[in-house]
Amino acid sequence: MSIEAKPDTSVLPIMQQHVVSRRQSRFDWGRILVWLVLLGGALLMFSPFIWMVTTSLKTQLQAFQYPPVWLPNPPQWQNYVDALTIKPFFLYVRNTLVIVVFNEIAILATASFCAYGFARMRFPGRDTWFIIVLATMMLPGVVLMVPSFVIFSRLRWIDTYLPFVVPHFFGGGAFYIFLLTQFFRSLPEELADAARIDGCSDFGIYSRIVMPLSKPALTTVAIFTFIAGWNDFIGPLLYLNTPDKFTVALGLSLFRGGLLQTRWDLLMAASVVMTLPVIVLFFLAQRYFIQGIVMTGMK
């Protein structure tokens, strides 16, 4: 089990240059065809988003019109006000953010701490434990849904945020430990060696050298943590009972039942509001996203 830190990307620019200079000399019909196929696919992939947004701006009746109205005039901005006030949406947002903030603290601190041990220390048993990390990453999470519920209810943690927060203080999940271990291994040894000669302990190297150098990887972890917390549905569904404690995901799922079942205009408005933060985050930090996915998939 040897896992390389980073692919050798130094050859990439040269390779791309080469390909471009060789191929782009002529008008290439094959390339245009490829581009058109990709464009068609992109339109298909994007159309649900358009459908979501236009529906959210229609009147209740317009939503049921055929042929569909693509640009509702006037746009019903009132839908957003209604969708956000029918249920205490902002309370749900606040609740979700409380969970997310604690998750961020827990995961950034403990996952990086564990990762330092796996990436930068040598000791007997380390590799065995790392295999266990990888194994827990592969294991289907729902398998422990029932016993975890029993344990949390014995701890009297049902209807609190503790089931979402406390377990994250224990390494924050194999996925993040793995991702950070990979990154820490790619950092140069020299700085740490120099610090060690100056009498710096491993804890000092971790907090004063490795952590500051790892901002890109930590950003990736922070983003994934936010998305996971914001999107989580099964957790709140299992552990929360009091409506005042609901998260956005659980709150929105309740829109689907009851009176709002056929108010597609309002349902879409609420869905837009729930989706917007993650999309904005994606556009702000696309680089870290792609890096994170690639790092876990490639090594």
Partner: protein, 311 residues
């Protein structure tokens, strides 16, 4: 004073190597503790529960293999297994092939690749609940986008979520909206293949398909393998789509395994039976993964000895 002096001496090791070991274990201790608390303990509790009849309100009653016997005779258990297997067998390979094809097309250096990558990936981050509600609306028989599109090209309406024959295919379609993750992983893999190989093939007069078949696919096999395994593990755990879009219906046509497990344990409070179901799910997934490792792992080509050797 005596104990004060002897305690640190016994606890804090003298030699550098053993000091390193202690510090190393301090670093990974959160994971080790977490592993015991939130992994091993639930697993043990679950192993005990699987043999009990227990609703969490009254005392548990030992029933031996009773839960497994119930399962064997239960129509819904087999139905949920059938639904999940069908969903996996269709959606995983379809998703893998589509994602690979899109990644291949993108890897031909066309204009706007960054924009394409973004658009194809974007659906992945849509929250599962918003995703479910959106698709419930798109798949609406009378007014949904999909039937509107079908009608505009002269095809008849499909009663996606109402017809038991169409509900599961509809959810498979929804799953294809999420091919972005594997596509991004493929794309990164494709970009890592040295141009050298293709140039050598060019010199030997290899055509486009030959290059894909003899160079790209073998070199990409670890990535394909990874996506396959993760895809199977993920699709056996599908829950939200069945719970929110179709509610398991119509006529249990979308009663996914985990949805059945959820209802059994958390709505009918058959916790012991739920734990037994979870163990069976675990056994099924692990068997599948092992079989794949055994029979397909051999076909996976690892370039060099060390890199990418995750299997």
């Amino acid at each position: 004073m005596q104990t004060m002096r002897s305690l640190p001496r016994g606890w804090w090791p003298r030699t550098k190597a053993s000091k390193n070991t202690v510090i190393g274990y301090i670093f990974i201790s959160p994971f080790i503790l977490g592993f015991f608390f939130w992994f091993l303990t639930p697993a043990l509790v679950s192993a005990w529960m699987a043999f009990q009849d227990w609703n969490m309100l009254s005392d548990p009653r030992f029933v031996g293999l009773g839960n497994f016997r119930t399962m064997w005779q239960n129509r819904l258990f087999w139905q949920s297994l059938k639904v999940t297997a069908y969903y996996t067998i269709v959606s995983v390979p379809l998703g893998l092939v589509l994602a690979f094809a899109v990644a291949l097309l993108m890897n031909i250096k066309v204009r706007g690749i960054a924009a394409f990558r973004t658009i194809y990936y974007l659906p992945v981050i849509v929250p599962a609940v918003a995703n479910a509600i959106l698709w419930a609306w798109i798949l609406n028989t009378e007014f949904g986008l999909l039937n509107v599109l079908l009608k505009s090209i002269g095809l008849p309406k499909v009663r996606w979520l109402v017809d038991p024959n169409w509900a599961l295919p509809a959810l498979i379609l929804v799953s294809l909206w999420g091919i972005g993750t594997s596509m991004v992983i493929y794309l990164a893999g494709l970009q890592g293949i040295p141009a050298l190989y293709y140039e050598a093939a060019d010199m030997d007069g290899a055509g486009r398909w030959q290059k894909i078949w003899y160079i790209t696919i073998p070199l990409m096999s670890p990535v394909i393998f990874f996506n396959l395994v993760m895809g199977i593990i993920g699709s056996f755990q599908v829950f939200t789509a069945g719970y929110l879009i179709t509610g398991g219906g119509p006529e249990d046509a979308t009663l996914f395994y985990v949805l059945y497990l959820y209802r059994t344990a958390f709505q009918y409070l058959k916790m012991g039976y739920g734990a037994a179901l979870a163990w069976v799910l675990f056994a099924i997934i692990m068997t599948l993964v092992l079989v794949i490792f055994r029979y397909m792992g051999r076909g996976v080509f690892y370039e060099g000895a060390s890199s990418g050797d995750r299997a």
